[in-house]
């Protein structure tokens, strides 16, 4: 289990903390949805888990501090960031080789992993093309492929389907489900409620750096049925989300 306990964080010069004593329990295996409006602290939490920011509080995996686990097994955690975090002037295969090599993969193992993730993300046909020339959907798939190079057992996915067409989104969601089926723990942030409902087993709804609700998706919807009536064809998670975070616009 990935356990986040009492994590607080404030950016330099920021008036308010972005995260306030935030605690979530992410069960091992399966897909955990992290939901929240803009500015809720989702990306900040992902950045802390990925080791990009230092925060107060503790993060453990099966009782082992995450930092220690990553020191021992650097490949145990993978990140698929919201941005297209690769080099547009490099080809797809050059990007995959580079990100594999900086994580210590080499020789036959690197070739095998590059082929494997390219097949998984279905980008084999565009491997010789520069990443900057790809469509939005192909870029998202390359972004995902890079995150899978070291076969991490924990994968952080920060809005991995933003800006893609329905076909690419459907493919990405199927791929994410397949990854969870292999026993990985996936932490998934998104603004798309129907996506989260479709693929997540557990969710946490956060706002202003605090957890408002968390638990198994089905239980949350059942427990909150009183305030959020479940109707045929309704987007029940979206109703719960709007109920908890209010309808006021966010920056």
């Amino acid at each position: 289990m990935l356990k986040v306990e009492g994590v607080s964080f404030r950016y330099a010069g920021g008036e308010e903390p972005v995260l306030r004593q935030l605690s979530i329990d992410v069960p091992a295996g399966g897909i955990f949805g992290l939901l929240g409006p803009n500015g809720a602290g989702k990306t900040t939490l992902i950045s802390i888990l990925a080791g990009q920011l230092r925060a107060e509080g503790s993060v453990t995996v099966d009782g082992t501090p995450l930092e220690e686990l990553r020191r021992r097994e650097p490949a145990s955690l993978g990140l698929v960031p919201q941005e297209f975090a690769f080099y547009p002037m490099l080809t797809c295969v050059e990007n995959l080789r580079f990100f594999g090599a900086v994580q210590g993969l080499g020789g036959a193992r690197l070739r095998e992993r590059v082929d494997s993730v390219a097949n998984f993300a279905r980008i084999v046909n565009v491997m010789p093309r520069r990443a900057g020339e790809l469509s939005g959907g192909l870029r998202r798939r390359l972004n995902l492929a890079i995150g899978l190079l070291t076969e991490p057992r924990i994968l952080l996915l920060d809005e991995p389907t933003v800006g893609v067409d329905p076909q690419s989104r459907s493919f990405l969601l199927d791929s994410i489900r397949a990854l969870a089926g292999e026993g990985r723990t996936l932490l998934y942030t998104s603004h798309y409620m129907e996506e989260v409902e479709a693929i997540c087993d557990h969710v946490a709804i956060i706002d202003a750096g605090r957890v408002l609700r968390q638990g198994a998706l089905a239980e949350l919807l059942r427990d909150d049925a009183a305030v959020v009536p479940v109707r045929h064809n309704s987007r029940s998670l979206e109703q719960l989300f709007m109920h908890l975070t209010s309808r006021s616009l966010r920056d």
Binding site: A12, A50, F86, Y87, M89, L90, G104, I146
Partner: protein
């Protein structure tokens, strides 16, 4: 080693596909070298003068000093011997030395010898020789025969415009790696690539080292090509040819130290700037100011003395001193030690500052 090699290959691939960035690094200094060498060739033949120090060594020294002083020439205490004087000229601490052999005045065959700093404008050497002819008439009935030796200049004669301009604009071009370094780094940060690499536990010092290797090679390639431009392109266009030094190892050492300082500057600007525009302004303007102050755009010998003192603050002046020590003065390792040590210390300080700034931002 594999991650560092991967970083170098990545940087090299990215750079090789940035045609505009490469043009700035290679074409700009080459164009400056050609234009400035041709445009300033007359200045170096007949141009501006500065107040220079001279000394007289040997017999009758006192009698000649008065006649030589004034109008741009200032007498300094005499060195103990001709060899000591020669060493001072070679190091650039004394511009002109008149060596008066024993028997001067009595024996008409005795020749005076003038040792000259190769960075002196030739017109100033000529003026000194004219004054010397006048001064010797007070000692002898006819002007004395004399020999002129430009100490350390491989051409043996006057320093040319190209000898001043090639190292100057080479240094200027080398420091312009600040633009591609900072541009690539800021794009990496903006696109989240840097964050991804940090999340993959690639240590930040290794990320910095990943930039140093490829840009070091680029800087050395610049040095080779700019020296070739001075040697072959400028004379082909009607200018003088660059006389190359005998000590290539020292030249390589100076280029390496200059490169490390330039890369350190580039990395600090890259880490410290929040946007590409900021990096372009800070890096570009910083380079131009350092060049203007450091004798790159305006040779230091035409600056007033107070400005020459300020020029010593510019790292480009340190690099230019070191290049001149090798190219103009045929200096030894000891002659480039001080400017090279300053460049290396600066490089270390800039790298440490870049690392500290990154850690500070990461913590917040």
């Amino acid at each position: 080693m594999l991650p560092l090699l991967a970083l170098w290959v990545k940087e090299w691939l990215a750079l090789s596909r940035d045609v505009h960035g490469l043009a700035v690094l290679f074409v700009m200094p080459a164009v400056f070298i050609v234009i400035m060498s041709l445009a300033l060739s007359d200045v170096f033949r007949d141009g501006s003068t500065r107040q220079v120090s001279f000394a007289v060594v040997g017999a009758d020294a006192a009698r000649l000093v008065d006649g030589l002083s004034g109008e741009g020439f200032k007498a300094t205490p005499s060195p103990a011997s001709e060899s000591a004087a020669r060493e001072m000229v070679r190091k650039g601490s004394l511009a002109l030395v008149l060596v008066v052999p024993d028997g001067f005045g009595a024996d008409p065959s005795v020749k005076l010898k003038v040792l000259a700093d190769p960075t002196l404008p030739p017109v100033q050497i000529a003026t000194f020789l004219q004054r010397l002819q006048g001064a010797t008439l007070g000692v002898k009935s006819s002007s004395a025969p004399l020999t002129l030796e430009v100490v350390g200049n491989p051409g043996g004669g006057k320093p040319s415009s190209v000898q001043q301009n090639v190292p100057a604009w080479l240094i200027f071009g080398m420091f312009f790696v600040v633009l591609p370094i900072s541009a690539l780094f800021i794009i990496e940060r903006r696109d989240g690539t840097l964050a991804r690499l940090v999340s993959q536990r690639v240590p930040f010092p290794m990320l910095l080292a990943g930039k140093v290797g490829p840009f070091f090679v680029i800087n050395l390639a610049q040095a080779v090509l700019m020296l070739a431009a001075g040697r072959f392109l400028v004379p082909w266009l009607g200018g003088e040819s660059l006389a190359l030094p005998a000590r290539w190892d020292l030249l390589a050492a100076v280029a390496a130290c200059t490169s490390l300082a330039a890369i350190g500057w580039g990395l600090l600007v890259a880490v410290g700037s929040r946007t590409l525009e900021q990096a372009t302004v800070i890096g570009g303007v910083g380079n131009i100011l350092a060049a203007a102050l450091g004798g790159i755009m305006v040779p230091r010998f035409v600056m007033p003395e107070s400005m020459q003192a300020w020029a010593g603050l510019s790292p480009m002046a340190w690099a230019l001193d070191a290049f001149h020590a090798v190219i103009l003065r045929q200096g030894s390792a000891a002659d480039i030690a001080a400017p090279c040590a300053k460049l290396l210390a600066l490089a270390a300080a800039l790298l440490a500052a870049a690392f500290w700034l990154h850690q500070r931002r990461r913590a917040s």
